[in-house]
Chain length 208, copies 2
DNA sequence: TTCTACAGACGAACACTGTTCGCGTCAAGT
DNA sequence: ACTTGACGCGAACAGTGTTCGTCTGTAGAA
C-alpha cells in the first residue's frame, strides 16, 4: 500500500489521487477505502514514511546548537526530496504519527541539553518545526518546477513597476533587495534563519 | 467585485467558490472570468485587501524591537480575523500585491533601524514573514472551528497510547508537554517565538 | 464433498470543484 | 433604422473525493 504509494509520490503529490493510486494497483478507487479511511489518512502515512528516514542524533551538550541546526536541515531535506510532501505537513493539525513524535522528542532532548527548561524547549521546538515546514514548503516550490520561471520574472517586473510608480522615498529598501532573492541565496537564507534562532535560544538560556 | 467577495470571505474561505460568489451576484460562474482571470488571482485580491488594513509604524530606533513584534502580531491578527485567508498566503509563491510590498518595506525599515544591514534585514524579514504566515495558518485552524475538539483529543489519546507502548525512556520529554499545548498557551507560544527572534536579531546586530 | 453464509473487493454513480466554448442579446456607429 | 461588434453568461467538460450496493471468493458447517 504505502509502497505503491511512495512510487507515486515520486512523480508529484498532485499525481497522488485516489484514482491514480488505484490504477497503479490495477483496480478502482473504491478499493483503497478498505485499507485507508480517508485521503488525508493516506497523506499522513506518506509523511510518516518520509520523516522516518530523518536521523535522530544523540544529544551532545558540547555542540547542541550545531545538532539543532542539523536536525532542522535534515527534516527540510527529507521533505524537499519528496515532491510536494511539505504541503501535507501543513494541513495536518496535530501530528501524531510515530516519526513526528520521535523527531519531536529528539528536538526536545537537544534543546534541553542547551539549557532550556521543558516549557521553553516545547515552545522553541514548536517554532523550529513551524519554520522547517514553512521553508520546506517554499523550497519544494522552486526545487521542482512548480513555479515557472517566466511567471516569476513577469511578476517581478510588475512589482518593480508598481514600486517605481510611487514616490521614490516610498520603497528605499524594497527596491534594492531583488539580488538577495535569487535561487542561489536560498541556502544562505536558511543558514541565516538558523543562526538567528540559535542566537536567540542561547540568549534565553543564559537568562535562566 | 472584491466587496461582494469579502462578504463571502467572512463565511469562510471554503465557501468562496466561483459558483458561490457568482450566486451572490445573481449570475453564473462564467461571468466572473470577465473581471478576474483566475481563482488564484481572486484569492490574491482578497489577501491584498486584508493586509491593507495592517498599520505600518514609523520606525523609532529607540523601540524598534517592540515595533517589529507589534508588526508581526498585527499581521497575524489581520489574517486570523478573516477566516481561512492564511491558507491563501501560503500558496502564493511571490507576493507582489501592494499591501505585501508596503508591509515588507515597513519591516525592512524597522530591522535596519535595529542595526542590521540590508542583506541581514532581508533575510530576517523573510524569516519573520514565514513565521507570521505559519502561525496565522495554525491559529486560524483552532480560532474557527475547523478542527473539531473531539478529533483532537482522540488523536491525543492515540498519541499517548503509542508513546506509552514503547519503553518509558523513549519519550522522557514528549510525555510531559501536553499541558503546554492547550489553546490558552497559544498566545504565550507566539510571544516566546517573538522573544526568541528578537534576541537573535540583537545578537546578530551586535556582531556588526 | 457440497452447500451456505459472510466478509471483503470494487464498478458505477453522486456531488462538487475550476474552467471554457459559443450562443444570444444589447448597445453603439453609420 | 440597420448593421455590426463585443461582451455577459448558460450549459457543458474534465477532474476531484467519497459512498452504495452488488458480486465474488473463501471459510466453515453438514
Amino acid at each position: 500500500m504505502k509502497t505503491a504509494l511512495e512510487v507515486l509520490a515520486k512523480e508529484g503529490l498532485d499525481a497522488v489521487t485516489m484514482r491514480r493510486v488505484a490504477q497503479e494497483l490495477e483496480t478502482g478507487p473504491a478499493s483503497l477505502y478498505a485499507h485507508v479511511s480517508n485521503k488525508d489518512e493516506l497523506a499522513e502515512l506518506m509523511l510518516d514514511a518520509v520523516l522516518a528516514d530523518v536521523p535522530r542524533p544523540e544529544p551532545d551538550p558540547a555542540r547542541w546548537d550545531e545538532q539543532v541546526k542539523e536536525l532542522v536541515r535534515a527534516q527540510i531535506r527529507a521533505m524537499v526530496a519528496h515532491r510536494g510532501i511539505a504541503r501535507v505537513a501543513w494541513h495536518i493539525a496535530v501530528p501524531v504519527n510515530p516519526s513526528s513524535l520521535h523527531l519531536g522528542e529528539a528536538m526536545l532532548a537537544l534543546l534541553r541539553a542547551g539549557g532550556l527548561d521543558l516549557k521553553q524547549a516545547t515552545f522553541a521546538g514548536d517554532a523550529l518545526a513551524l519554520y522547517a515546514k514553512a521553508y520546506a514548503y517554499e523550497a519544494s516550490g522552486w526545487t521542482w518546477g512548480e513555479i515557472d520561471e517566466t511567471d516569476v520574472t513577469e511578476r517581478g517586473e510588475q512589482m518593480m513597476a508598481y514600486m517605481r510608480s510611487l514616490p521614490a522615498e516610498s520603497f528605499p529598501n524594497m527596491l534594492r533587495i531583488g539580488e538577495f532573492f535569487s535561487a542561489e541565496t536560498a541556502a544562505e537564507r536558511l543558514e541565516f534563519a538558523l543562526d538567528m534562532y540559535l542566537a536567540g535560544l542561547k540568549a534565553i538560556a543564559a537568562r535562566n
